[in-house]
């Protein structure tokens, strides 16, 4: 295996692992801040217990998100030095801003939240969690703008073999980045909502801490309903934009080979890249692709055959990841709408609780599939239309990268197991009894 392939695998492993923990951090931070605010406003001790229970799960997850993020900050330099030299003006700036504006806020105030229960007023302490929540989501904005630039580079000029910034405003208002933000952040809230609902369902099935977990479930339900609908809507907007700006990705994610007007959607396909066709096609919706992509059934959708062979992304992973994500993304609002109808009969609707328990990991899958689509679908480009991934890797020995790749898999694998064990253990234990928490909150 060569250095480029090993570096690709390492970056994919590192980012996908990091993104197992980030969405829950983004969503659950807001939910915990909300619960603590409710405690401050109403004085209801159950809200305090909810804050501490969900907060503890939040912190275990947060730690893994933070440490796995540190490596990414430097991995552009270690493994993608040619990329870094090329895009430093734009990409480096966005990362530096992310750290200055958001990471500092998040990491400083989480320490204050954990250790400051006895040192701050109730109101101040709750505000601290809002700051952590805001900081996390703001950091997501900056990194998504950075990725957006990789997908649709704007506001630059090429000088001396590198991309020099010419228009900062264009970079931070880049439509691709803004759509990624509008789609990714709500998806994090879907994940947090299903996390809360899944764990709550487990306890409700066992008929324990009923009031506690009914309240928790309903918070998850409200957030899950709204955010899953927003994800679907912004997802459609995003796909329209991809049709216009990344025709190769669109063709691959639909396994669409022949340029044509009234282009159909093939529900399921097995692509045959060598022969530039689909070996199997199941379910054909005539005109649907032109309609969805261009909002005009008579618009032409470019097929893979009209894209130079060395500019086509790998078709199968792009197609499968897209279909999986959309299927799940359609399921999520349906599940929450059902929950809305069952709102007052939750405890008796055991079949629904079982479904929601098993649905807990699904947003994780959907989000990872989304990123596979975004990144694999952009290949062979690391910056779309400008720089190819194959030309972007660091000139380091393949043996070094093999060693670090194995290191990542081992360390992350072990940490992932430990983290999963801790979260599962604390989740199933449930909240501490009422008296203990009240005592420790009042010091």
């Amino acid at each position: 295996m060569d250095v480029v392939m090993l570096s690709r695998l390492q970056f994919a492993a590192a980012t996908m692992f990091h993104f197992l923990f980030v969405p829950l951090t983004l969503g659950l931070s807001v939910l915990v801040a909300y619960m603590e605010t409710q405690y401050v406003r109403t004085g209801d001790e159950t809200y305090l217990r909810m804050t501490k229970f969900w907060g503890k799960l939040f912190l275990i997850n947060f730690a893994l998100g933070v440490v796995t993020g540190i490596t990414l900050e430097f991995q552009f330099g270690t493994n993608w030095s040619r990329y870094s030299a090329y895009v430093g003006d734009v990409f480096g700036s966005l990362l530096a801003i992310e750290a200055s504006v958001a990471f500092f806020l998040e990491s400083t105030f989480i320490g204050i939240w954990i250790f400051g229960w006895n040192k701050l007023s109730k109101k101040a302490h709750a505000t601290v969690m809002w700051l952590v929540a805001a900081a996390g989501n703001v950091s997501a904005i900056w990194i998504l703008l950075a990725n957006g630039w990789m997908q649709q580079p704007v506001g630059f000029t090429i000088r001396d073999g590198r991309a020099e910034l010419t228009d900062f405003l264009a970079v931070i208002t880049n439509k691709f980045g803004l759509l990624e933000i509008a789609h990714t952040i709500p998806s994090a809230f879907v994940l947090a909502a299903f996390f809360m609902m899944g764990i709550s369902a487990w306890h409700l099935l066992k008929k324990q801490h009923i009031d506690f977990f009914t309240r928790s479930f309903n918070i998850g339900l409200a957030v899950g309903l709204v955010s899953s609908i927003v994800v679907a809507v912004t997802g459609d907007m995003h796909a329209v934009h991809v049709t216009q700006t990344q025709p190769a990705k669109l063709a691959a994610m639909e396994s669409h080979w022949e340029t044509q007007t009234q282009a159909p959607i093939i529900m399921l396909a097995i692509p045959d890249e060598k022969n530039e066709r689909n070996a199997i096609e199941i379910g054909r919706l005539p005109g649907a692709l032109s309609l969805l992509g261009h909002h005009d059934v008579n618009a032409a959708v470019t097929g893979l055959k009209d894209i130079p062979k060395d500019e086509r992304p790998p078709v199968l992973p792009t197609f499968v990841s897209f279909r999986t994500m959309v299927a799940l993304g359609t399921l999520f609002p349906l599940l929450t709408i059902v929950g809305l109808f069952l709102k007052n009969r939750l405890l008796e609707s055991r079949w629904y609780l079982w479904v929601m328990l098993f649905a807990l990991p699904l947003p994780y899958l959907a989000i990872e599939m989304g990123w596979v689509l975004a990144e694999v679908g952009r290949q062979p480009w690391i910056v779309y239309g400008l720089l190819k991934t194959a030309n972007a890797a660091s000139p380091v020995a393949a043996s070094q990268v093999m060693t670090s790749l194995v290191g990542f898999i081992l360390v992350y694998g072990l940490l992932g197991i430990a983290g999963f064990y801790l979260i599962a253990d604390f989740a199933q234990k449930g909240p501490k009894p009422a008296a203990a928490d009240v005592k420790s909150a009042n010091g």
Partner: protein, 342 residues
């Protein structure tokens, strides 16, 4: 003053603040097996670092991010050249960060031992390797005209590089021990104070050897000899090291810690000023060195980033100083009993 020169010093400042802040928790983590005799000791040492370590570590992310934004060629060459050393540092920091969160979550001695080891390795290794990395940067790294590193991890473990590692380790051990004298109580604080007293002459000795070795092995003194007024900086380092001892003898522990902070910052600047205008000098040929003038991003980028930094760094400093103020008091038994969130 030119934009690139301003950015050179911001770059140096960010590394200095990183070493000044994360230095004490890397130090405490490195002292963990030596000072952490009882379960309460260990608990207290984690508590001493707990509220502040994460905010401290972000200075590293910012130093890296700023290197990327302002000097992308340096970011690219530095991190790919120092590949193995940096990967080791990153893995160590990963294990350290998770250990604080995971250690007390399971009431099992074997579980705790695993994370205790990770705290130690995760603190000791970065402390040593940052020193090795910067020592090598001061000396010059074998990079060719394409910025390709002609060496291995072991190339970095030369005598001067290792001396840099030992210096950083001493600086951080003293810094960590002094923080414990401020935050810990009773027996632990007393042992930390004794250890700081014992480590001080080692630090002073290593610092002197380092100053002399830098004259012999590196071109650092060139800038100083050309502008003798700059000797003020190492003079401040010497004064600060003496200050540590002075305040320790007076039992003015927070002041001793501040003197230690000043030592770290001034030592970093001794190196940074000596490097100017290079950020990543080549030991093969001076023409291959990466400097503030041949490795920076465009003037527009530097301007925009300057505005961002001037806006946000003071804000960050303000709330981090507030956090330090909140948590530079003694950890109490009450604190230890109520840390159910950690």
């Amino acid at each position: 003053m030119e934009l690139q020169t301003v950015w050179f010093f911001i770059w140096g400042l960010l590394w200095a603040v990183f070493f000044m802040t994360d230095g004490f928790d890397l130090g405490i983590g490195s002292l963990y097996p030596f000072l952490g005799k009882s379960e309460r000791d260990k608990h207290m040492m984690i508590h001493a670092m707990g509220p502040l370590w994460d905010g401290n570590e972000v200075w590293l992310l910012t130093a890296g991010g700023v290197t990327f934004a302002a000097f992308p060629l340096v970011y690219a060459v530095m991190f790919s050249s120092l590949y193995s050393a940096l990967m080791l540092i990153l893995f160590a920091l990963i294990l350290r960060g998770v250990s604080f969160e995971f250690r007390n979550k399971v009431d099992n001695p074997a579980w705790k031992r695993v994370w205790d080891t990770c705290i130690f390795v995760g603190s000791f290794l970065p402390a040593l390797l940052f020193g090795v990395a910067f020592g090598n940067i001061f000396k010059g790294i074998p990079i060719d005209q394409d910025g390709i590193y002609l060496g291995t991890l072991f190339t970095l473990l030369n005598p001067y590089g290792l001396l840099g590692g030992v210096l950083f380790l001493c600086l951080f051990l003293v810094h960590g021990a002094l923080w414990l004298t401020v935050r810990a109580d009773g027996d632990l604080a007393q042992r930390a104070e004794n250890l700081a007293g014992k480590l001080w002459p080692v630090l002073a000795g290593v610092a002197v050897v380092f100053l002399v070795a830098s004259y012999i092995f590196t071109p650092l003194y060139d800038n100083y000899l050309a502008n003798p007024v700059l000797f003020l900086v190492p003079a401040i380092s010497v004064a600060a090291i003496v200050g540590i001892k002075y305040f320790l003898m007076q039992n003015a522990f927070f002041k001793a810690w501040l003197a230690s902070a000043a030592t770290i910052v001034s030592c970093t600047f001794f190196g940074v000023i000596g490097l100017f205008p290079n950020l990543f000098p080549s030991s093969i040929d001076a023409d291959y060195s990466l400097s503030a003038f041949n490795a920076s991003s465009s003037p527009l980028t530097l301007k925009i980033m300057l505005i961002v930094v001037l806006l946000f760094v003071p804000v960050v400093l303000a709330y981090q100083i507030w956090a330090y103020k909140l948590f530079s008091v003694k950890v109490t038994d009450d604190d230890l009993a109520h840390d159910d969130m950690y």
